[in-house]
């Protein structure tokens, strides 16, 4: 159908005028490409009208089944208010880029400054960057930071032996350029096995990583001890969490965390097939070792407060191979969404939401525990959003049967199911319990 790009406004007349101004006959004359490497074939991609494109993509997406997801393990669904889509969707935000000209980009800079500030409040640590890609890459960045911080020596990074699949692989890839070795310490009933951690710790450890809540949804009870242990061995304590959990659970700074990483897109985005928003927060002492963009306050010519990207000499476009990270394009727009959602909730709403993450998991666990052939939760801990249940039937069969009934859960062991409950699944709970009763027999 189309003669060209629908987003190029040229007419044959203006094209001819422009070619003449340049002094060539045709567009092809503008390309200085040796004949041997010219492409004379076709891609074979058919052009479509906008309506046809929408219909084409919508029809494909309809092949995603209508399944109620009781899924978590690192990617969580919370209700996103309409105001987030409306405001973040404003094209002045959406179609802008990195704020290389701060005078004309005050709006986004201020929104990112507010985002950083919220994370400072939530963690108690002094410096938040304005995003990394996701929780796994943020953990990778934390590990490489441990190698640049002078107060730390050693090249072993300790992680829990229960972790989201793939997170360790990302970490190990980020460690490719240094001498970092990744080791695990054991978990005990869902939480850190502190004695096991003591055994794993030595003076060659540069960083200890723990999560709160853990990948199985349990809430850690001995974070201060873990922080002290890391400190005693001169290692950084890196804590994984998210903004909803941080609103209620122990403040990272109060338990001795040196770096906080995790996924901040638990607010503002909802299900996105794993797209995240890596949060990265640390001590002011490590300010000049932080990866990624930082927004700071300054003044403009009128003496009024204004915002700008700052400390850019850490970054790749200036420091190149000696930069703190290679990150350039980040997740700024996802951060904007998170900030708007957090502002909409306010402190009461955020704490309420966090508390329902505890109570919903508790209530759903109790209901599952009443089902014959099911024990829930398996771990004798407090939980946040999610928990593990034991089924008499093989977990894989339970999972497969449940999804055919329209409910998705994780199978995490031979007889272990993991279930995540948020406000978005609330209306489906009765149906879910009913289906579970059927399949658990």
């Amino acid at each position: 159908m189309s003669e060209g790009s629908p987003y190029a406004p040229h007419t044959p007349e203006t094209t001819a005028e422009m070619l003449e101004a340049v002094g060539v006959e045709t567009e092809a004359d503008l390309f200085d490409i040796p004949e041997a490497v010219r492409f004379d074939d076709e891609f074979g991609i058919e052009a479509r009208s906008e309506r046809e494109t929408r219909r084409h993509v919508e029809r494909i997406l309809e092949r995603n089944d209508d399944v109620t997801e009781f899924l978590g393990r690192g990617h969580y669904d919370h209700y996103v208010p309409s105001v987030v889509d409306d405001l973040a969707g404003r094209s002045e935000f959406l179609t802008s880029y990195t704020q290389y000209q701060p005078e004309v980009a005050q709006g986004f800079l201020q929104a990112l400054f507010e985002f950083q500030s919220m994370l400072v409040e939530l963690t108690g640590l002094g410096v938040a960057n304005c995003s990394t890609y996701d929780a796994a890459t943020a953990l990778g960045e934390a590990a490489t930071l441990s190698q640049r911080v002078r107060s730390v020596s050693g090249d072993r990074v300790l992680i829990p032996d229960l972790l989201r699949e793939g997170k360790r692989e990302v970490l190990e890839n980020y460690a490719a350029g240094s001498d970092i070795a990744v080791d695990t310490y054991p978990m005990d009933d869902g939480n850190v096995d502190v004695d096991g951690l003591v055994d794993a710790l030595d003076d060659d450890v540069a960083m200890v990583y723990a999560e709160n809540p853990t990948v199985r949804g349990t809430i850690e009870e001995r974070l201060t001890e873990i922080g002290d242990l890391a400190d005693d061995h001169g290692a950084l304590f890196c804590l994984g969490s998210d903004p909803v959990a941080l609103a209620l659970l122990e403040e990272p700074a109060a338990v001795g965390a040196d770096v906080v990483v995790g996924d901040a897109s638990t607010l503002g985005t909802g299900m996105a097939y794993g797209m995240g928003l890596g949060l990265f927060v640390t001590h002011e002492d490590y300010l000049r070792q932080v990866p990624g963009r930082l927004v700071g306050a300054s003044e403009d010519a009128s003496g009024r407060r204004a915002y700008t990207l700052t400390l850019q000499t850490r970054e790749q476009h200036i420091r190149r191979e000696r930069a703190t990270s290679n990150i350039c394009t980040n997740q700024a727009w996802v951060a904007l969404r998170t900030a708007i959602h957090a502002a909409w909730l306010g402190p009461d709403g955020l704490v309420d939401l966090a508390e329902t993450c505890v109570t919903r998991a508790r209530d759903l666990g109790a209901r599952l525990d009443e089902i014959e052939g099911v024990t829930a939760p398996v771990h004798d801990r407090h939980h946040f959003r999610e928990f593990v249940a034991r089924t008499d039937q093989p977990a894989e069969a339970v999972r497969a049967d449940l999804v055919r009934e329209g409910y998705a859960v994780h199978a995490v062991g031979e007889h272990l199911i993991q279930v995540c409950a948020t406000e978005t699944t609330e209306h489906s709970t009765d149906g879910f319990i009913e289906a579970f009763e059927e399949v658990a027999r």
Binding site: G4, I33, L61, T98, Q101, N173, Y273, R305
Partner: protein, 504 residues
């Protein structure tokens, strides 16, 4: 002469739009004992023991109407592609069709990554389709969509090269990069554990073949190259370059930042490149979002396919019945879908916790499906025409050519950073400045295909107006933007990175 007065909300002599925290904040006490004391006021019971919770939290407490005004005002103090011309060199600031936003917002697209494959066939089909599209466009045999940004793609691509060399028992320690390359190239190579060997440009602004010959050898893992390069020049000797690198046993890496110059005219795979990344937020019009999210898929030649990140998507062969989900085992019962995930044989593992920035990939798929062959080729033709036309209308000197989708002008005796600030007053976003360094006071300009002759004339008028102005006008600019010239030195000297620091 077009001018532009950006909206500006001024609260006082000290500030513009106040921070959320300056509107209203509230401290919420969390411990159970405190809560009991105030149970009547907020009706809350402590849901966890005190020793598992924080004591309190203080955050902005503003109503929804106030939030709407706050962010609307902030948006008005922000310049995007829909505000006006945005010829930021190397960033390919195209128009972002709202149609793709609508598709990414479809409830059917909002899925969890751990769903069994059978139940996300739509998502897998889109991803499979995009792998296929990108392979055809780049002339690559296999594609991974996982890297979440261009730099992440570079990192993944160099890790692929590393895995390939290691599998061949071939320890190599160096990556060769031209001095005019994007800063991310150097940083990505270093992150992957390589020493960087910087390659000087020749007098024409291209790869110096003699220098390349001297630089490559048994230690060379890869040459990273942008083509056309950051001056907009096509590396005409690409075949000789490829031979030199390949003869030394190295691989050729293509930085896709400038792919918008070549759609339908030349393909990295045909030039001898073994690995490349695509910047879908540049070439395929997904929004830059104030800094991201983007996506940086990588394409490779067949011999590198086994090392790509896991998982990828493929069409299921008839008769295979097993199904996997992320991190779980096969599905014993039930029907299976057409598309499945699989791990390449010697995969380097993962470079993102899940499978990258799905909504961005979906938008890129929709854009490519909309344009098709003719639209894509026309986008590049018009991008190159626009750059050439704009340059022909400028009084600033453009020392290197023939260029393609972007050119680098020199501000001559003027300071390029000041030129940029003054351009803001004329209603255009300025070019990238002071880089690449081979051009003194560089103005790296990429108008993209979305500008008409009319808006290009406006842009040229803005350039020329600034070119004719004296230093006084430049150093006091900008004056029509929301904020005046911002003091960068004090921002860095006394970092204040959160509202907690403003009173100190």
């Amino acid at each position: 002469m077009t001018t532009y007065d950006q909206a500006r909300w001024t609260d006082s002599a000290e500030e513009y739009e106040p921070l959320l925290s300056e509107k209203s904040t509230k401290t919420v006490e969390i411990s159970a004992s405190d809560r009991e004391a105030t149970a009547d006021a907020d009706g809350r019971d402590g849901v966890l023991p005190d020793d598992l919770t924080r004591d309190s939290i203080e955050l902005p407490d503003v109503s929804e109407p106030e939030i709407a005004r706050h962010y609307t005002r902030l948006s008005q103090m922000n310049y995007g592609v829909t505000s006006g011309p945005f010829p930021l060199g190397s960033c390919t600031m195209k128009y972002n069709p709202p149609m793709t936003e609508d598709l990414a917002a479809m409830p059917t697209a909002a899925v969890h990554p751990d769903r069994a494959e059978r139940y996300v066939q739509g998502t897998l089909e889109i991803l499979h389709g995009l792998q296929d599209y990108l392979g055809r466009i780049g002339g690559m045999d296999a594609v991974s969509l996982q890297p979440p940004a261009g730099a992440a793609g570079e990192f993944a691509g160099i890790l692929v090269a590393k895995a390939f060399h290691e599998a061949n028992g071939n320890e190599r320690s160096e990556v060769v990069i031209p001095d005019s390359a994007h800063g991310t190239n150097f940083a990505s190579a270093a992150m992957a554990g390589y020493d960087v060997v910087e390659l000087p440009s020749d007098d024409g602004g291209r790869v110096d073949i003699d220098a390349l010959e001297a630089a490559v050898g048994d230690d060379t893992a890869a040459l990273m190259l942008t083509n056309p390069n950051t001056l907009g020049l096509f590396e005409r000797d690409i075949e000789a370059i490829a031979d030199l690198v390949h003869d030394a046993g190295g691989l050729l890496y293509y930085d896709g930042a400038n792919l918008n110059a070549l759609l339908g005219r030349a393909r990295p795979g045909d030039m001898g490149f073994d690995v490349m990344h695509y910047n879908v937020h540049k070439t395929f019009a997904t929004p830059h979002g104030g800094g991201g999210p983007g996506a940086g898929p990588i394409g490779v030649a067949e011999r590198l396919e086994p090392y790509l990140p896991a998982p990828r998507v493929r069409e299921r062969e008839a008769g295979t019945a097993s199904e996997r989900t992320s991190g779980e085992r096969s599905e014993p019962r039930g029907k299976v879908g057409t598309f499945e995930l699989f791990d390449p044989e010697h995969s380097l593992g993962k470079v993102h916790g899940f499978q990258g920035n799905w909504p961005v990939l979906l938008k890129a798929y929709a854009y490519i499906a909309r344009l098709g062959d003719e639209g894509l080729a026309d986008a590049s033709a018009k991008a190159v025409l626009n750059a050439n036309y704009l340059a022909s209308q400028l009084s600033y000197d453009v020392p290197f050519g023939p260029f393609h989708h972007e050119f680098v002008a020199s501000a001559g005796d003027q300071d390029a950073a000041d030129v940029a600030k003054r351009m803001l007053d004329y209603g255009v976003h300025p070019p990238t400045t002071k880089w690449p360094e081979i051009v003194p006071e560089a103005l790296m300009t990429e108008p993209t295909e979305i500008e008409s002759k009319h808006t290009l004339d406006q842009l040229a008028a803005a350039f020329d107006a600034v070119a004719a102005e004296d230093d006084d006008a430049l150093v006091s600019a900008p004056t029509r933007t929301a904020a005046g010239r911002i003091d960068q030195v004090s921002a860095a000297r006394e970092p204040r990175l959160s509202w907690h620091k403003l009173d100190e």
